[in-house]
């Protein structure tokens, strides 16, 4: 089979991020500027998307792959405009379908680093089916879900992550439906990499992007994103410096989970497998948990995701789960290679002739 562009991973010495083992290595170190397109950015002033795209552009050189091997695919919504602002290959597709389109690209072109940009409406409402299936298949794509808990582009209707009772144009008496927890949803779909971060914390956001790029298979990142126009301060309780120490549970693999004033609080398992915050001082140290993102069983990560409450009392951020599984594109390529090993490359004339032919003279 002819490979589309005949490019392969040229040998390189530096250790590669796990998702990029089949992607060519960049000869020259790129900069954030190399990934800025000449397009005028059209988000509203103060939109959280600005911080995210800046962090993304600044991070991309770390991949050490040529610019032309980075592809950004999005659906529809405010966040989905992002591909226009990144100078690489980009596809701004249709509502909810980006994970499906990216699946076709990533599974046929393992030499690309494929990023999906989506929002809470795009990924969880109209595209919910594609999201869960892309995650369970473990396609080598990185999905960045910008969660602003509102429909921005259509001017402010409640979304599948809006809190119940949300007053919007489409719900003047309050929304009736119960919101999704995106992290719980991704874990329920058996995603092999699930993380959460916040638009305003560039360092944390970058560290999560790095961890996602270092994961072979599907990576899901929920990014809390502020929409100052239609849902301002949705995440305000997490952003005041004093409050954030109280509320944010920063997950670090292998480290004891500590949060609250002076890291005085920790987590332990309750009677039904749920996680409960406790004062470290009074607790039996053996019961306090250290974060283990590599647990094969997703139940623990799921329990972490259930600590979220509507009042933001406790919000874990960081990598909830990261387990090693074969990625879909690898398995697909392996089947082709195995078939060729077993019976050689295809012979078209033999295929067309089949086994039951007869001759007419």
């Amino acid at each position: 089979m002819p490979e589309p562009n005949g490019r392969h991973n040229e040998g390189n010495s530096s250790p590669r991020l796990a998702s990029l083992t089949l992607v060519p290595h960049a000869a020259d170190r790129l900069t954030a500027k190399d990934f800025k397109s000449d397009q005028e950015v059209r988000w509203c002033p103060g939109c959280g998307d600005y911080a995210i795209v800046a962090a993304f552009q600044a991070f991309l050189p770390e991949l050490e792959v040529p610019r032309e091997n980075v592809v950004v695919i999005s659906g529809i919504g405010c966040s989905s405009r992002l591909p226009y602002y990144v100078d690489s290959y980009g596809l701004h597709s249709i509502h909810g379908r980006a994970p499906a389109i990216a699946t076709g690209l990533a599974s046929s072109r393992p030499d690309l680093s494929v990023w999906v940009i989506t929002g809470d409406g795009d990924a969880l409402s109209i595209g919910g089916n594609h999201l869960i299936h892309a995650l369970r298949r473990n396609v080598n794509i990185k999905i960045l879900l910008f969660n602003n808990r509102i429909y921005g582009l259509t001017k402010g209707q409640y979304s599948p992550t809006s809190e119940q009772g949300k007053i919007t144009k489409s719900t003047p008496f309050g929304s009736l439906d119960h919101p999704f927890n995106p992290v719980s949803l991704a874990l329920g779909a058996d995603a092999s990499f699930v993380a959460r971060t916040i638009d305003s914390d560039r360092r944390h956001l970058t560290s999560v992007l790095r961890a996602a790029a270092d994961h072979r298979g599907a990576a899901f990142i929920e990014i809390y994103q502020n929409c100052p126009i239609f849902n301002d301060d949705a995440f305000a309780p997490l952003k005041e410096p004093a409050a954030s120490a109280e509320r944010l549970i920063r997950l670090e693999h292998g480290e004891p989970v500590r949060f609250g004033p002076g890291a005085s609080r920790g987590l332990r398992f309750g009677s039904h497998g749920q996680l409960e915050p406790v004062d470290v001082a009074g607790a039996d140290p053996g019961t306090l948990i250290a974060h283990d993102a590599h647990r094969d069983d997703p139940s623990y990560a799921f329990a972490l995701s259930r600590l979220d409450t509507a009042d933001f009392a406790h919000i874990p951020v960081g990598v909830f789960r990261q387990v090693t599984q074969s990625s879909y594109d690898e398995l697909m390529a392996d089947q082709i290679a195995a078939a060729r090993r077993h019976s050689g490359p295809g012979d078209l004339a033999a295929l067309l002739a089949g086994n039951d032919t007869w001759e007419v003279h």
Partner: protein
């Protein structure tokens, strides 16, 4: 006893039984034997959508009709000469199609009071004289099969299950078919269960021997091989031919094949077939739904694959938005719609031609898509290669229309020489890294084809963004400019219209040029119309026949052809969809003939319609 041998020029056999009786298998095997013998043939499998409808009921009846001849034939035949009815339900559902004097082979064992009552027979038709007008061959097929297998260590149920092989053996004797292929097939199929394999072989042989010795059959028939064009032949169904066409297009173009698909009747066999050919680098992706199937295909097209999605009418609806995106971003995509009876779920296993207007217009905005329609099962091979050629050359989605009849029906196919196939690699090229430092212009069109560059990720210097938002001409940047939109709408249309200059003109079959009536058709009606036209001509009436392979754009000479005749008759298995297009485009008052029964037209019926039109011309 010596039997009289009678030579026939053609025979139409219909195997009919319960869904669980293995009629499709028996029909398939008889077809393979017939193909190996060298007859021309055409088949019509007809089965319920339910996998196992309640046993012995009318909805559970499954049948397989095969027409074979010593000359070239075009259809599976209107009515059977021979009907094999494995139970009362099969008799009841099919007897009205058997002409007076036809041969009826009945499995008498199943004609119990209970089975008769189940399908509304108050009296046993084998005894009440109601079948007097047929040549009835009453054969206790089930009990004879069981008896023949007495010595085998298998259950009674397994023994009964071999009755289709008994019937097949009997028919194979009756028409002097070569048995080796079937015996080889049984050996391979049941290689893991030697007892069952031997039992099936024994049942087949018992059926054969029964034919030879019984007095139920006094005559044995022969149908001489057909004189087809010289070459190497095989029997092929439409879906297999389509799958092979896709593998071939991939090889000819040098593009890796990617199929995104979701299971749907009657298209699933394309997915099944392609999934087997990984050696050719074929990637098959069974998606979570129809939308993801076409979405993944479009993603693969963006990356430089020969991208395909296969489906039927209900799936086409779900794919419409993504096909629209493919129109807008101008990427090659092959969409195979194996039409079935609608609306909605309709009749999944039955054929219809009613997706034409959906293919033509079923998207928002001005969204032109080329349409190619296959005319026969074997023609699916070259039709889909042509669809691929148009897709890669013009960077556009192309809809390939087939249908349930073509998909499951089969006919002999002269296996093409690889060297005779079109060189798709010369029809397109990926954009190459720009030597100039200037910005890449993703919508700068080729002046001849109006195609935009196919610049695949991984190509340095051609980084660009595309999407479903309107793009500025040439630069491809987002544009809401009114005049630009008008220009882009017209450019996209002009690109598709321009394909007319790159396709074969419509060929008219009008042997002596004296016809005043033209019969025109498209898609799977080719065989029925062709057979009807032959009948009419044999009756001494001149009539012209033309068949459209390209539904969008139309061949450039179509208007002229339509105006050349006093009357234009257009039979369609819909309520006049192509007629609407022809009238709208050419202001020609075509006469529509429409039947939407989920079955192909009968040649005799169409011949009558043509004669009527000629009579009034």
């Amino acid at each position: 006893m010596t039997k009289q041998v009678q030579t026939l020029d053609h025979v139409i056999i219909r195997f009919a039984g319960d869904s669980g009786d293995g009629m499709q298998l028996a029909g398939d095997r008889f077809t393979q034997e017939t193909a190996a013998f060298g007859n021309d043939l055409s088949t019509l499998p007809n089965f319920p959508a339910e996998i196992r409808a309640p046993a012995g009921t009318l909805p559970g009846v499954s049948s397989f009709q095969l027409h074979f001849a010593d000359h070239d034939i075009l259809t599976p035949g209107d009515a059977p000469d021979v009907l094999i009815a494995m139970n009362p339900a099969a008799l009841r559902a099919n007897i009205s199609d058997l002409p007076r004097g036809g041969d009826l082979i009945v499995n008498t064992d199943e004609f119990t009071k209970r089975n008769l009552t189940k399908v509304g027979y108050a009296a046993n038709p084998l005894e009440d004289g109601s079948l007097e007008q047929y040549h009835v061959h009453a054969v206790p097929i089930t009990s004879m099969t069981v008896k023949a297998l007495e010595s085998f260590d298998i259950t009674r149920k397994d023994a009964e299950r071999a009755k289709n092989m008994f019937a097949l053996g009997m028919l194979s004797w009756l028409y002097d078919r070569p048995a080796e292929g079937t015996l080889g097939f049984l050996k391979a199929k049941f290689s893991g269960r030697p007892e069952i394999m031997q039992a099936n072989v024994a049942a087949f042989q018992a059926g054969w021997n029964f034919g030879e010795t019984t007095e139920a059959f006094s005559v044995r028939y022969e149908v001489k091989p057909a004189t087809l064009a010289p070459g190497s032949y095989r029997n092929i169904s439409g879906n297999t031919a389509l799958a092979y066409g896709l593998v071939t297009a991939s090889q000819l173009s040098g593009l890796p094949l990617f199929l995104g698909s979701y299971p749907i009747t009657p298209a699933s066999d394309i997915l099944h077939e392609l999934a087997r050919h990984k050696r050719f680098g074929v990637r098959t992706f069974q998606a979570e739904d129809e939308i993801a199937a076409v979405g993944a295909a479009l993603g693969a097209a963006f990356g430089g694959s020969l991208a395909v999605t296969s489906t039927s009418g209900p799936g086409m609806l779900l794919k419409a938005e993504t096909i629209g995106l493919a129109v807008s971003v101008e990427l090659p995509l092959i969409v195979c719609d194996i039409q079935r009876a609608g609306p909605s779920t309709g009749m999944p296993t039955k054929t219809e031609q009613a997706d034409l207007l959906q293919a033509m217009f079923g998207r928002n905005g001005e969204s032109p898509v080329p349409i190619v329609a296959a005319a026969s099962p074997a023609d699916c091979f070259s039709a889909v290669i042509e669809a691929a050629r148009i897709a890669v050359k013009y960077r556009t989605p192309v809809i390939l229309l087939s249908d349930g009849y073509l998909a499951n029906g089969s006919e002999p196919w002269r296996i093409p020489e690889i060297a005779s196939l079109p060189d798709l690699a010369s029809e397109f090229a990926f954009a190459t890294p720009g030597a100039d430092a200037g910005a890449f212009q993703p919508f700068l069109r080729d002046p001849a084809t109006l195609a935009r560059p196919w610049a695949i990720p991984g190509t340095p210097g051609l980084e660009h963004r595309i999407g479903g938002i309107e793009k500025a001409d040439v630069t491809g940047e987002i544009s809401y400019d009114p005049d630009n939109h008008d220009r882009m709408v017209r450019l996209r249309q002009a690109k598709i219209d321009g394909i007319a200059a790159d396709i074969a003109p419509l060929r008219v079959d009008d042997p002596d040029g004296s016809a005043r009536v033209l019969v025109i058709g498209w898609g799977s009606t080719y065989g029925s119309i062709g057979a009807a036209v032959r009948r009419v001509r044999n009756g001494g009436h001149p009539v012209a026949h033309a068949h459209l392979r390209y539904l969008n754009p139309f061949p450039p000479n179509l208007g002229e052809v339509l105006r050349r005749y006093d009357k234009v008759l257009l039979p369609e298995i819909n309520l006049g969809q192509l007629a609407l297009l022809l009238r709208g485009r050419f202001l020609v008052d075509v006469i529509s003939y429409n039947r939407v029964r989920g079955l192909p037209f009968r040649a005799a019926e169409l011949a009558g319609v043509i004669e009527d039109v000629i009579g009034h011309a």
